[in-house]
Symmetry: C2
Subunit: 357 residues, 2 copies
């Protein structure tokens, strides 16, 4: 398979030399773009965007037409897997994702099946293939999945939560039941990401959005362990190309050493940690992706540029940095701020890479 | 002033020898207790409980009648100060606290005044005095306040937030305006806590509930710095007794060294950090308070006891541990779980204090 004309992202994730720090943004195809909102209105709903390859391709490409980003990321939902398991994903206005049939009863949990990504999640694979074709090897395509624990949060709570009472009650009362869900989820995510890789994803990322809500002990046992299970079953190469992976536990800054030991290529960081300190702690083991507070994009261009410089210089010289926000971009972000951000990263980062190239 | 018959909490906060690890629970007077709900129904609302010294005393005492806790904590709201500043605190069912007049305009911000705790917040001081009298020196009384940044979040957002977009927009666009609010808040909290101490509070705690939402740099500049300002103006002694203080930044585990350098006596920990690791990082500088996940209380007695033992043995032998949850107790907690917890802490902790006494 031909490597992308701009393969800066892939090299940075593998800690290879680059000329500048590559940048992409979590949720870069989203509601802050008017063209996205127009496509979504045509599609009728968020899920209709995800489930139709033409719409998914169209919105995936939109931010690339506006900004010289160094990667595309598959447009999809984080909850496609439990939806394919039959839990009935739906969205009601202003409420976030919900499931019609949350997992509460033991018999329902024992009956869970690993979906076949090539049939049950065919629409995702079709989107990946078509996006790859449309990208025409300009920049790499990132595939992704929610982590087993994050999927389980939604599956058990039935929706987003602030206290995670249902899933943590299961965790402390019936840990073996939760382990069963997590094992099924880990198998499902492994198959799902491998199918994305076979369909054309050139890097993959696991979003552990809620792992940070766990205690230090529980994080190891109920979240990280299952991401390790995925990593051990993940294709690391496809058609001669290395497929780098990224683990992102929001709020996981305390656990970087353990995450680095998981076998991942890169760690995603939120904005609460100094990226230079993170680099010292993990050494040369992994690359780092992050970590600007998305709210910086509400400031003027001088502040955005100054905050970008802080992240770049805190990481310092050398390989293994992918610039990103510490969380998904806000729907209220002015698109001009992204123009400023991307230009600042590309321009200001060159001095940190002079020696390597 | 006579010291309490049970002064274990005060000694532990000052890293002095104790016979067992003292325990109290954030939000220990609350909705998980049927007697609290009855008093609240009689009072008519949460705010009516806070603003009447008899009700505030009654609910403060309720958990002590049920459980052999080692401290009482003033029953009050975290937002009394901005309410006294005229922002119009109100609660609507299921919504959390809100302000009628959130701070958005520069002229409103410049007009903010530091409330006089002995007049504008007289009802709080009256409650402190009456609770002290009712406690009859059985256990110490903890006073508290929200941190300047946490108060500012509510003042600017007008309510709780998940993305803190309004306050962070101000932080990145108009930092000097936010600094003005924070300076006023820090002056107000200093005066408020000192007035609580003069009215009888024997230890004080600053709740920095939202500091953990900031980036590492912004935390220093916009939250910790103003807690340091408070600590430098705080009475450390009253009528011959040391008045220990606790700083609790939820999600602040990455910043323990800086918090320990703030001049505080003790740091509150949420459940994401291993308390033994925290102790190693801060050394002998400060005491530690925490840090069980409140959701453990949804498990059975064996699990609760085992999880208590994990926290105690992770802290290990020696002085300077106050047992607590890592966050306020959930309203859905079975009260029997608290009985189990308190007994487990009192019994299991003795072996870690043998050498000291």
């Amino acid at each position: 398979m031909t490597k992308p004309k701009n393969d800066t992202l892939l090299r940075a994730l593998l800690k290879q030399p680059v000329e500048y720090t590559p940048v992409w943004l979590m949720r870069q195809a989203g509601r802050y773009l008017s063209e996205y909102n127009e496509t979504r209105a045509r599609a009728g709903s968020f899920l209709a965007l995800c489930k139709n390859r033409d719409f998914a391709t169209e919105v995936t490409m939109q931010p690339l037409a506006r900004f010289p980003l160094d990667a595309a990321i598959l447009f999809s939902d984080i909850l496609t897997i439990p939806d394919a398991m039959g839990l009935g994903l739906y969205f009601s206005e202003g409420e976030g994702p919900q499931f019609e049939r949350p997992l509460r009863e033991e018999n329902e949990i024992r009956a869970l099946k690993v979906p076949d990504p090539n049939t049950d999640l065919r629409y995702v694979m079709d989107a990946v293939s078509q996006i790859r074709k449309t990208l025409d090897n300009q920049v790499p395509l990132i595939g992704f999945s929610g982590s087993p624990f994050t999927l389980a949060c939604y599956m058990v709570e039935g929706r987003g939560s602030t206290d995670f009472r249902q899933i943590k009650t299961m965790l402390y009362q019936r840990p073996e039941l939760l382990h069963h869900i997590l094992d099924i989820n880990a198998q499902a995510v492994t198959a799902y990401l491998n199918a994305q890789i076979e369909s054309g994803a050139q890097a993959v990322m696991i979003f552990d959005t809620w792992g940070g809500a766990l205690s230090h002990n529980a994080y190891q046992e109920f979240s990280l362990r299952y991401m390790e299970q995925i990593l051990s079953g993940l294709k690391r190469e496809h058609e001669g190309a290395r497929i780098p992976n990224v683990i992102f536990t929001k709020g996981g800054g305390l656990w970087l050493e353990q995450i680095a030991d998981s076998g991942c290529d890169a760690i995603g960081l939120d904005w609460t940690i100094d990226i230079g300190e993170a680099r010292q702690r993990v050494g040369d083991q992994v690359a780092l992706q992050g970590n600007l507070d998305p709210n910086v994009l509400f400031a003027g261009p001088e502040t955005i540029t100054a905050e970008v410089e802080k992240v770049l210089s805190s990481f310092g010289s050398g390989n293994g940095h992918v610039f990103n926000l510490g969380h998904g971009i806000s729907q209220f972000t002015p698109p001009e701020s992204v123009t400023t951000l991307v230009e600042a990263v590309h321009t200001l980062s060159r001095k940190f890479h002079l020696k390597e190239c």
